[in-house]
């Protein structure tokens, strides 16, 4: 029992059940139906992909406020390379991934070399990346939106892989989301790297003393969030067959909200990928549920903010209980 109580995602499990039950009653049949289920899972998936990676980073004790702008940069890079420069889809996707990883590497190195808090480093990066994305795109094309990605050779396979609907109304991104969560959970709980991630966030000095390569772990985590942002960008660019320089705006905060609702500590060293999945799921359910209930969608953000506060207070309480017990 105490062991179950000490799991970080406990609050999120209860929250997900409560939110589902609430909308199952308030919105009724449309929410409970297969289509309704698909609607909130499809909405949760891109955020979920991001949140799983952000959870690892936050457990490792760092923030990444630049992930939203990386989504914008990566989707525009993919669109520019294919429709403006005429590259085939897959080389363009590979180059876009390389660009994203380079940004993640820059984030990581800046944080571990300068000692400036990652909150500030990645906040600065957010503006640099968003600004360059808009600047470069307008310089090259004179516009801020770009379509025609579906004309690139190789797009057909990409369409199936990233934006297909393998199971009725359920999108392929749901599979990516859950698969990544499974891998992240495995890494966290069953590999030395997972142990080092917890240690890097929970006690970097003690970890260094025990020979954990804390700096390398952190840089790898920043590259992971950047790669996740790139995957979200590819999924959305394929789905909409084009890009917008503003794509991904505010996603960095939504990811943090999902991760924190999922029971990960803001201060690092404690949390789970499963919690981040549940946090994104709750986000998707609230977003779609509110619309189905007939309430004006404007109220969605109020609901979300309130949930965040409740989750933080509840998780803090559970965690204190768990560590004091026994």
């Amino acid at each position: 029992m105490r062991r179950a109580l000490s799991r970080p995602e406990l609050g999120a499990v209860a929250g997900a059940v409560l939110v589902w039950a609430f909308f199952a009653v308030a919105a009724g049949e449309p929410f409970r139906s297969q289509l309704g289920t698909a609607a909130y899972l499809n909405a949760a998936a891109p955020l979920g992909i991001l949140a799983v990676a952000v959870a690892l980073l936050m457990i490792g004790g760092e923030f990444d406020l630049s992930v939203g702008s990386i989504i914008g940069a990566a989707s525009m890079s993919l669109a520019l390379l294919t429709s403006h420069f005429g590259w085939p889809f897959w080389p363009a996707a590979a180059a876009t991934l390389a660009l994203s990883l380079a940004i993640g590497l820059a984030n990581g190195l800046l944080v571990v070399r300068t000692g400036v808090p990652s909150f500030l480093v990645t906040l600065a990066m957010l503006f640099v990346i968003r600004g360059s994305t808009i600047g470069v795109t307008r310089q090259l094309t004179g516009r801020t939106q770009l379509g025609g990605v579906d004309q690139a050779p190789g797009f057909e396979l990409a369409g199936t892989l990233f934006a297909g609907t393998p199971l009725g109304p359920f999108r392929a991104s749901i599979v990516w989301w859950l698969a990544l969560a499974a891998v992240a959970t495995w890494v966290l709980l069953r590999t030395p790297w997972g142990n080092w991630i917890f240690a890097s966030g929970g006690g970097p000095h003690a970890a260094r003393g025990m020979g954990v390569p804390v700096e390398r772990v952190k840089v790898a985590l920043f590259m992971t969030t950047a790669a996740a942002a790139c995957l979200v960008a590819i999924v959305q660019t394929v789905q909409f067959t084009g890009a917008d320089t503003l794509r991904g705006e505010l996603q960095e905060f939504r990811a943090i909200v999902a991760v924190v609702i999922g029971g990960t500590l803001l201060t690092g060293g404690y949390g789970s990928a499963v919690g981040a999945v549940l946090g994104a799921l709750i986000y998707g359910m609230v977003q779609q549920g509110i619309v189905m209930t007939g309430v004006d969608a404007d109220w969605f953000q109020v609901f979300l903010g309130a949930m965040l506060i409740v989750a933080v207070i509840f998780n803090g309480y559970v965690q204190r209980r768990a560590s004091e017990a026994g």
Binding site: F198, G203, A206, A207, M210, G211, V212, A322, G326
Partner: protein
């Protein structure tokens, strides 16, 4: 037999400030050597020299009779010298077994399936902690749920498991109550019986006297007394600590 570690005529200066001068101390296997002194007496500097954090500006450092120059704590650890600091020893939010094996996780399987051998970790951690005199029952509970004395004892057990022959404890009981100190002192006693050379740094003679075999008192960077247990009483230690001339 050579002492496990020994320094002779060691000095350490920071610019014009003399932190240690002419310090000679030897620590034997299977004994507890207490390093006593008031704040600023040079205990911390001597610990830093012994554990490889700082290099002495003069004098000789020997491990098992061989002269060495330790460039880093990692080098010291490779020589079997482990240091446990009171506040940096463990990570509270992680489980006992995760702390125990941090940085040296045993794995099984290969390639992408290479994974931590969790069952073995839990079992070994429980056994080693039992040898140190603490019963954690469930090694997957968070470190934060252990008492201060138990946490220090975990750090001691971990050092021994990974082959420490010399154990340096820097003010391990400074933040502990009487009962918690007892848990740690029990672990120290057991380490000694396993043949480990223990350096126990403290400014509390009352606590040092029952566990120590040898007592070295520092004042202003110099050794003012170096006595075996049967040559010295608690009262005498206290007077030395307070600044009375020795021996």
């Amino acid at each position: 037999m050579h002492p496990a570690i020994a320094v002779s005529d060691v000095g350490k200066r920071y610019g014009s400030v003399v932190a240690l001068e002419g310090v000679t101390v030897s620590v034997h296997a299977g004994t507890v050597t207490c390093l006593l002194g008031d704040n600023g007496a040079g205990k911390s500097t001597l610990v830093k020299v012994l554990s490889g954090v700082e290099q002495p500006t003069s004098g000789r450092y020997e491990i098992d009779g061989e002269g060495v120059r330790l460039g880093s704590p990692l080098e010291a650890r490779a020589h079997g010298i482990a240091t446990v600091y009171q506040d940096l020893a463990v990570i509270p939010l992680m489980s006992v077994w995760r702390n125990f094996f941090l940085g040296s996780e045993p794995t099984r399987g290969w390639g992408p399936l290479r994974r931590i051998d969790v069952d073995r970790c839990a079992q070994v951690a429980r056994e080693e902690l039992e040898r140190a005199g603490i019963d954690v029952r469930d090694p997957s509970r968070p470190m934060a749920s252990l008492s201060g004395g138990e946490r220090q004892a975990v750090a001691v057990a971990r050092a021994l498991h990974f082959g420490a022959k010399v154990l340096i404890l820097d003010e391990p009981t400074a933040a502990l109550g009487v009962r918690q100190s007892g848990i740690l002192l029990e672990a120290v006693e057991r380490a000694k019986r396993r043949g480990v050379a223990v350096v126990f740094v403290t400014h509390n003679p009352l606590q040092a006297h029952p566990v120590g075999d040898r007592f070295v008192v520092l004042q202003r960077g110099r050794v003012v007394a170096d006595a075996a247990k049967d040559e010295v009483s608690v009262e005498r230690l206290t007077r030395w600590m307070a600044g009375a001339p020795g021996p």
